[in-house]
Symmetry: C2
Subunit: 318 residues, 2 copies
């Protein structure tokens, strides 16, 4: 595994190649990930998520620069909902590339949806682990936090920053609810725009509702609501401080280990699921599966009875 040892030294071309292999779902990747696993677990994984138009790419850019000034190395994974139809990265990504390009302490990668959603979430998780193993001390995972899938991706982080902006439409406001739950830090970006104070107040009220006195007495983390103007860097320092404070809280409370365990469990279950399905498909055979599909379409069988029959067939001897 020459590639693995090169990744462990932080070799950028090796990193890029391994990540491409992950995206292409090459079978050889599994071995590389296994070899890298003992070297993971050191990076602080920070998810940054927000609705479209909140300016989160700019914020990610500024956070990366701030971490660099503190001597951290930064991996950035931008989960990008563009598709083969356009084939390109987001504009924001190109802007970012220009800004951070040439800094050997920063590695940026966009992940596009190639196939299924599950595939994207899995690949993103694998890329985060690779950057962790490669020695980046902070890994920023940027997602468009409007779909549950993107929220799920953000959820794999140690610390989740949810970015809002004043003056987005009602529809977007309603979407925030799902994000509030996963926020460790709330940032109102574009805070120089009209309505910023109202947005901050609305978030504070929502937090107050969710964060009851029981939580208070248990000393649970209270997500701060911070304001930034990412385009000129205003307020970014306070976000960096909040991220560091959240990390310290996770470690002192034992939640850091808890989140590690949750992540390991989810990864194991997902891999087990895929292993079982591959086994069942090869055992039953594609033809037999197609016959059941046909029966379901003709309404001669329903999915539930089909599964019972298939399970009986492939697990009969087990």
């Amino acid at each position: 595994m020459e590639l693995v040892s090169r990744v462990l030294t932080g070799d950028r071309r090796a990193l890029a190649r391994l990540i491409s292999q992950i995206e292409d779902e090459e079978p050889s990747v599994q071995e590389a990930l296994s070899a890298l696993h003992p070297h993971t677990g050191r990076a602080h994984i920070v998810g940054i998520t927000g609705a479209p138009g909140t300016g989160k790419s700019t914020l990610v850019n500024e956070l990366a620069k701030g971490f660099r000034r503190q001597g951290e190395t930064v991996g950035i994974v931008a989960v990008d909902p563009t598709s083969p139809f356009t084939g390109g990265a987001l504009l924001g990504d190109r802007v970012r590339m220009r800004d951070l390009a040439g800094d050997p302490g920063v590695f940026i990668r966009s992940m596009a949806t190639r196939g299924s959603l599950g595939g994207l979430a899995r690949a993103t998780g694998d890329v985060v682990r690779v950057l962790d193993a490669a020695g980046f001390s902070v890994v920023l995972v940027e997602t468009v936090g409007v779909g549950q899938a993107e929220v799920d991706i953000a959820r794999t982080a140690h610390t989740t920053v949810v970015v809002e902006a004043p003056g987005l439409g009602d529809d977007v406001q309603a979407l925030k609810a799902g994000l509030m739950e996963i926020a460790d830090i709330l940032v109102v970006n574009k805070a120089d725009r009209p309505g910023a104070a109202q947005t901050v107040r609305a978030l504070e009220v929502a937090l107050e509702l969710g964060w009851n006195s029981a939580a208070k007495s248990q000393g649970r983390w209270r997500p701060p609501v911070l304001q930034t103007v990412a385009v000129d860097g205003t307020g970014v320092g306070a976000v960096l401080e909040a991220i560091a404070a959240h990390r310290a809280y996770l470690q002192s409370s034992g939640l850091w280990d808890h989140r590690e365990r949750e992540r390991a469990r989810a990864d194991l279950m997902e891999a087990l699921e895929r292993g079982l399905m591959a086994w069942a498909r090869s055992r039953v055979g594609e033809e037999e599966l197609e016959r059941w599909v046909e029966r379901i379409v003709r309404r001669e069988a329903d999915v539930y009875s089909a599964v019972q029959a298939l399970l009986g067939r492939c697990l009969g001897a087990a």
Copy 2:
């Protein structure tokens, strides 16, 4: 199964109860869905998806009224990204309720994220099938089409309407790419606003790029780009006509059956996956699974080798 026979007669309280059971993942639901399966396959399932702020709820409302005037009965499933944190339906939904309330030919249901994304997608599919079995001739599935998950939900429809609006931010524009692929009909809503003509032109160009001469010669469906002002009903008639034309195209081309088969296959695979996991978990035991999680956390094992060991253990005799 008294509940099933009441659902088959279109009894609204029975429908509401069964849908709640689906949302709560009650085990008894499986039997009801099996009993309803022979009665499904008649409804035209229309997905309506678009970014926040495009006014798609209003459009759904107007489409429902239009279908009603044509004598169709309409089930509406609004997939709602709000969460237990707020616990409420979207404002748009309440507006809609008021407008269509009291019409026995319309049934509206909001689906909220309760647990996992997979759970929501599955529950939405089940609710669509229930409304189909209950005899609604059109089922409209409204999703916020910005996340891949929502796109996946929309994908289960026969006909997918993608709603755009002029003047949304760049971020939102970039998000469109993923939606373009799944669009059978493109609607630029709020077409009385500045920039509508540009939005239409941009969509036409994007379509032209994706819709090459080969597709043209094969007589493939060319998504029309329509303009509406849903708040006053302008252009909604043309959208209804396009939906009917797409249905005729699906049926004459054999794609209707093809999509049925794809859906049946996806449902079967997902149910098989769940069945296998339930079996494996009970066979291996939660304690053993936790031991592997612990080994992964301690970097004594990696996910891949854990899965190999677990598969060997539970499939050894199979």
